[in-house]
Symmetry: C2
Subunit: 209 residues, 2 copies
């Protein structure tokens, strides 16, 4: 098994935290997005779609989506179950991770990639180059704010995103909430339930990864 | 259990086909997006995020993401297994469905919602109104074309998207390939492997749903 990581990007951070929370030890190769290594010939053999994270499994399959990597490691790996045990829990955990992706992760990525002058021509990850769209950067900031409002509502009266324990849904949500700082959308006291949850997440050792 | 559907939209179609392929019979309420019923007070009680599909389960949980609905029904419902049985299969099926969503579904939706004059102010689903961004419509058409190219590569030498049987990954991919016709991005003989697979998918009774 081999894990392809990038220490500076939110998407591989999700897998990195998941692996750490499971207590798994997987040989890792760092792919520097700053140096464009995800577009290099070596890595394109691993993932032709040129995105990290990626996990080469011992079954001969390479997984290139967080959802797939987590699902696989939940099945074959030791450590605490992070993706639920009952049908309703499993479904809700995947649901809230999907919502965090579409409402949060996408919004922040759109704001960053369409607004940062260093990302000109790289408005989307992957092998193709797309021009920045300034309106999309603006919209992303607005949507990221709405994402935090939705989370405040969700977390009011709840300790965790789903059920009564830490899960893959918390990891995904946390990474995207933390990612939003880069576009200056931040958790503060105006969102008390989110603030309590975020502080608790920040105190976990895996948050430093 | 109650399923909230909309006969004209691709996202609920995924759940509709999944339910049919499992042979499940679930009481259904039609929500007309054309009439704006997803934004009505009654439906907002079911899903405050104002999107279809939604599934009210017998566990007291309402699921509002295709991934969650499929995961739940795969666990509690009868019928053929559509989400894999081994860890690698389960992971790969979720992976290819996620790729079809991000590369295909999103691209076509961006092209349609940002380009269609009838969708002014409704560039994104959900409760908030966002203005159309014409560049995003253009980009969506281009990306949808690239999605079909990627599928041609994936399906060359393969009968199904993952492994040797029909799965949730085929359903998701099919719905978004079919959805692309609305922006005039179509499967034809220039993509023979995709064409064979698409024809085979069109012949299934569930394709008429």
């Amino acid at each position: 098994m081999r894990f392809y990581d990038c220490g500076t990007a939110p998407s591989p951070r999700r897998a990195r935290i998941f692996i750490a929370e499971k207590g798994l030890d997987i040989p890792t190769t760092e792919i520097s997005i700053a140096k464009g290594e995800q577009l290099g010939a070596d890595f394109l053999k691993v993932n032709p779609r040129a995105t990290v994270p990626a996990l080469e499994t011992d079954d001969g399959v390479t997984l290139t989506e967080n959802l797939a990597i987590a699902t696989y490691l939940e099945e074959v790996g030791d450590g605490p179950k992070l993706m639920g045990t009952t049908p309703a829990q499993k479904a809700e955990i995947l649901q809230w991770a999907a919502i965090a992706e579409s409402q949060g992760g996408t919004a922040v990525a759109e704001a960053l990639r369409n607004g940062n002058p260093h990302m000109k021509g790289r408005a989307l990850p992957g092998p193709d180059n797309y021009d920045q769209i300034p309106e999309l950067a603006e919209r992303g900031v607005k949507r990221a704010g709405r994402f935090l409002e939705m989370l405040e509502e969700r977390l009011t009266g709840r300790e965790w995103m789903v059920g009564d324990s830490f899960s893959y849904a918390d990891i995904t949500t946390f990474v995207f909430v933390d990612f939003a700082r880069i576009i200056k959308v931040r958790v503060d006291e105006t969102k008390p339930a989110l603030n309590v949850w975020y502080t608790k997440m920040m105190e976990r050792p895996s948050a430093s990864l």
